[in-house]
Symmetry: C2
Subunit: 333 residues, 2 copies
DNA sequence: CTGAAAGCGCTTACAG
DNA sequence: CTGAAAGCGCTTACAG
């Protein structure tokens, strides 16, 4: 590998000058710069980022940890983060915690030894202790919150969106709604449930409702499925079901089909999240769609501007998620 | 940040000794090591991997580039790679090319400046020029091939699996099959089509068949959908359709429902890939399931053993993908 | 505008 | 078994 020293020798210049010319410093004459750039081409010079990091103390490295890489949304978020990082000359070291705090801890140790300058994380509900290890560094939490107070945050307007969705069901005449949620220690679930409850409380007419809470993250789909079957075959069958995210939605849909019911004739269904399958199902589903890519763009820009001291105060951004009306909700007269 | 020098000063030892003790070298007495380890704890020492990389010339960093992170399979593969890397003390710098050669190129430049020691890649069909930039380094190609001859390769037995699947359709009495594939410059599609053709050629009875080729990677689903509708509404409607991957499968399923047909009563369907939705569809789908996680484990172990000189020769591994029979294929008498 | 020198935090021959 | 010294490839005060 050619180094700065090679170029310097070849051109009879000092390392300092070559280094400056390479980085486009204006402490160097135009002629020198051009000579250096040409020579760099000739010897096939490529900067050694490792050396630069060590010397300058700025690694230009950010960490990105998501709670679950097989969540399609996170894929989009990551793609967006990578785009911004690449544009700004940052290296991203990425990892998935798979909802496991020990894996997360290992990833954070690795990041520290690589001198990360900031972290974007979709935390698990146990992340806070891990994050405290980085307390002096800029952290952006995305999608969910760990409880860390100092972090910047980029979130979906869960409360408002779920309220909107619930109001839509009520406006279509539904007066008996089952709401299926995951563990409320995950902040997205908590916020969404509050939105649901708020809509019910503010409704003009009484709305019967029930909350199905599935605590176990592990087998979310299959547990949801068997529980929902009970509701569907019970005496007080709801007219509509809401799923608080797409994993839960998979379980609900599964239950509906297992019971031989059809959407929306026998039961209406509405889901938070818009995975691709939602639109090619026999009945295209009415959903709340999150701007996952936008989430990533925002988080990355926020982190980089924090690292480069372009803003100092804590920022909390809420992006709105839209209700996409398709055909899974029946109008009840 | 505490450094080796801090520990050395505190203990009145040389940097060399501390460094050796920290790395568990047997060039150091047990007592010294224990003293050093204790002091390290006390001052909160954490190794600076950057400095270590620069000095030792071994970055213990591997690159991982996938063609599309929103492909669920790749998520599983990445999770597996991360596991092995973490266990072996390697840092992984991950990126998604999103099927774009320029993005891929930028990622590779970034990896080079970070002194990567090896690369695991799901290439695009244009990757070969980018990969040649790394020709002296160990490269493992996963899932697809770029045409690079020197790389290690971890692949699915596409030919055999698709042949198996096609034979299954034939054994169920299907004699008019539509095969839907993406661009054949992607090696997986090419191999799968050959497997299909091979099964047709070897069949005992004549099997009418047609190949629907969708070249555009961009709108694979919607293009597939509209083309398949033509087949479904035409005079020579097939009795079964095969989709060469899940993206294409989405388009096929979409077309079937848009035509108001039901699976498998009106048409049988079989798909390569087993995304979660395949099993909770109204009719659970018969699919070929790929061992994506296993693919990642194998690739990571292969790369690391190559980096550490535990093997020298080129290795090509084919993992078998299984036919999972569910309910989307009818038996025709 | 250019250069000589120091140093980022490690590891590693070389000597003893 | 331990230490003194050099050096990985850069960048950055300091001088001129």
């Amino acid at each position: 590998m050619a180094s700065i020293a090679d170029i310097a020798k070849k051109l009879n210049l000092s390392n300092s000058t070559v280094s400056r010319a390479l980085r486009d410093s204006n402490l160097v004459t135009k002629e020198t710069r051009e000579k250096v750039l040409l020579a760099a081409q000739e010897v096939g010079y490529e900067v050694n980022a490792i050396a630069r990091k060590l010397r300058s103390g700025e690694s230009r490295t950010i960490g990105v940890i998501v709670s679950d890489i097989t969540n399609l949304q996170h894929g989009e978020t990551i793609t967006a983060i990578q785009k911004i990082a690449l544009e700004n000359g940052y290296t991203v070291i990425f990892g998935t915690s798979s909802e496991d705090e020990n894996t997360e801890r290992k990833l954070i140790d690795l990041l520290k030894s690589n001198m990360l300058q900031g972290l974007i994380i979709v935390p698990t509900w146990k992340s806070i202790n891990n994050l405290k290890l980085l307390k002096h560094l800029p952290i952006v939490e995305v999608d969910r919150l760990s409880g860390l107070e100092s972090s910047d945050q980029v979130l979906i307007s869960n409360h408002e969106s779920m309220k909107l969705a619930t109001n839509y069901l009520i406006s279509q005449g539904h007066r008996n709604i089952l709401y299926c949620t995951g563990d409320l220690s995950i902040t997205t679930f908590d916020e969404r449930l509050r939105g649901f409850n708020c809509a019910i409380a503010e409704a003009d007419s009484a709305v019967a409702h029930d909350i199905l809470l599935i605590k176990d993250t592990d087998k979310l789909q299959s547990r949801t499925c068997s529980e929902v079957i009970n509701y569907l075959t019970g005496k007080n069958k709801p007219s509509a079901i809401i799923a608080a995210n797409d994993f839960i939605g998979e379980g609900v849909v599964s239950a509906i089909y297992k019971c031989g019911l059809s959407i929306p004739k026998d039961i209406s269904f509405l889901m938070f999240d818009d995975p691709r399958w939602a639109s090619f199902f026999p009945t295209p589903l009415t959903v709340i769609r999150q701007p996952a890519y936008q989430l990533g763009l925002t988080a990355a820009n926020l982190l980089i501007s924090k690292i480069e001291n372009k803003h100092k105060n804590q920022e909390i951004k809420r992006l709105s998620a839209d209700l996409v009306v398709r055909q899974s909700v029946a109008k009840i007269e």
